[in-house]
């Protein structure tokens, strides 16, 4: 039951993008088409889940036992960078179709603050391995959800008459603001 709460909490109530402001760069950059939003979202869910496992292991097998907590930031970010590199290689070998579909998005995931944020939050809240995994799945799904909704809205916006200075990032941010307001309605469902 607790695991479900962690999942829903990360996906809806404290949505990583709309409540914690993590993952904004790809949010603005990749959300113009629903298809790319879905691809990015799935890649993020995958990287997040693996990151949560590896960072938990590093934390509990190395950092805590040897009192090396001050090395958290460099070790986590190096893990994420290597993981993304590794995932890119694997996807390239396994399915070049998916690789081509994701294109430039894959390396961009490294600087996605949502991934590092996820690892840091899980460490701060002292989650167990299983809790971290559910947290990652929830956070990734929430990110994907916000991204896909945003892409849907932006595809419609293409046909609307947005004043030129507001096209692109400004109108996306304003729409995100309205989305954030809506998501506030999820508070209190658990």
């Amino acid at each position: 039951m607790d695991l479900i709460i962690i999942f829903i909490g990360a996906a809806l109530i404290n949505n990583f993008v709309l409540s914690y402001f993590l993952g904004i760069c790809p949010f603005i950059g990749v959300s113009s088409k629903i298809s790319s939003a879905i691809s990015m979202g799935l890649a993020v869910i995958f990287v997040m889940t693996i990151t949560s496992i590896v960072s938990w292991l590093i934390n509990h097998l190395i950092l805590i036992p040897y009192h090396l907590e001050f090395l958290t930031i460099p070790s986590f970010i190096l893990v994420i960078a290597s993981l993304v590199q590794f995932v890119e290689m694997v996807i390239k070998k396994v399915s070049s179709a998916i690789y081509r579909a994701l294109g430039i998005f894959l390396p961009l995931i490294t600087t996605n603050c949502a991934i590092l944020g996820l690892a840091l939050f899980a460490q701060m809240r002292d989650y167990t391995l299983i809790e971290s995994i559910f947290f990652a799945l929830g956070a990734g799904s929430g990110f994907t959800l916000a991204l896909v909704i945003m892409a849907g809205i932006r595809e419609e916006l293409e046909l609307a008459n947005v004043p030129e200075p507001f096209q692109g990032a400004p109108i996306t941010l304003i729409v995100a603001g309205l989305l954030a307001l809506t998501f506030m309605g999820f508070a209190g469902i658990i």
Binding site: I13, N14, F70, L71, P74, G188
Partner: protein, 186 residues
């Protein structure tokens, strides 16, 4: 071959310097960070046990419990830290309770992310004062829309029932756990 050697050298060199610098800064910072932590928890404990002068941490499974003494080393009660789900996130609070575990002295909210202007009002004196001298036997109850008629009742904040109920629930849970510990062994 030279390229690979260069790569290994640069990475190892950078990592070593980085590790060295960080462990030095960490050693410098550690005492300050510990001092800050102790200052913060002392402040919270003496806020909810205003006659307290000293305290001692007890070993009670998942809760932080402190036995509080006055300047003559006489026990005046406990300070208990507990947390739980609020409306929008986790609420962490500390409360002072007497030795017999039937009267709350005071509560302080340590961490909360409730709705600003509504749930966040649990940090205001108006709400916190409702817990002063509260009876915990029977357990604390929440009343809505009217003043409490019994000394174990707390009136909820208008428009923030869930946050108010959460605070009461968190306090009750802690009191229950403490009572079960029966006589509080160290």
């Amino acid at each position: 071959m030279k390229k690979i050697l260069q790569i290994i050298l640069v990475l190892t060199f950078t990592a070593s310097i980085s590790g060295f610098v960080l462990s030095s800064v960490n050693n410098w910072a550690k005492p300050f960070i510990e001092e800050n932590r102790i200052k913060a928890i002392s402040k919270a404990i003496f806020q909810v046990q205003s006659e307290g002068k000293k305290y001692e941490k007890l070993n009670i499974n998942e809760m932080e419990v402190f036995k509080v003494f006055d300047e003559n080393d006489k026990t005046i009660g406990y300070a208990v830290v507990n947390q739980g789900n609020g409306f929008q996130g986790t609420i962490k609070l500390i409360f002072g309770i007497n030795e017999e575990l039937n009267r709350i002295k005071a509560i302080e909210i340590l961490e909360q992310v409730e709705t600003p202007g509504l749930g966040s009002l649990i940090t205001e004196d108006n709400f916190k004062n409702r817990f002063k001298n509260l009876n915990t036997q029977p357990l604390i109850q929440v009343v809505k829309g009217k003043l409490p008629s019994n000394d174990n009742e707390v009136q909820a904040i208008t428009g923030a029932t869930i946050s108010s109920k959460a605070v009461v629930r968190i306090v009750n849970e802690a009191v229950e756990k403490l009572k079960k510990h029966n006589g509080i062994e160290k």
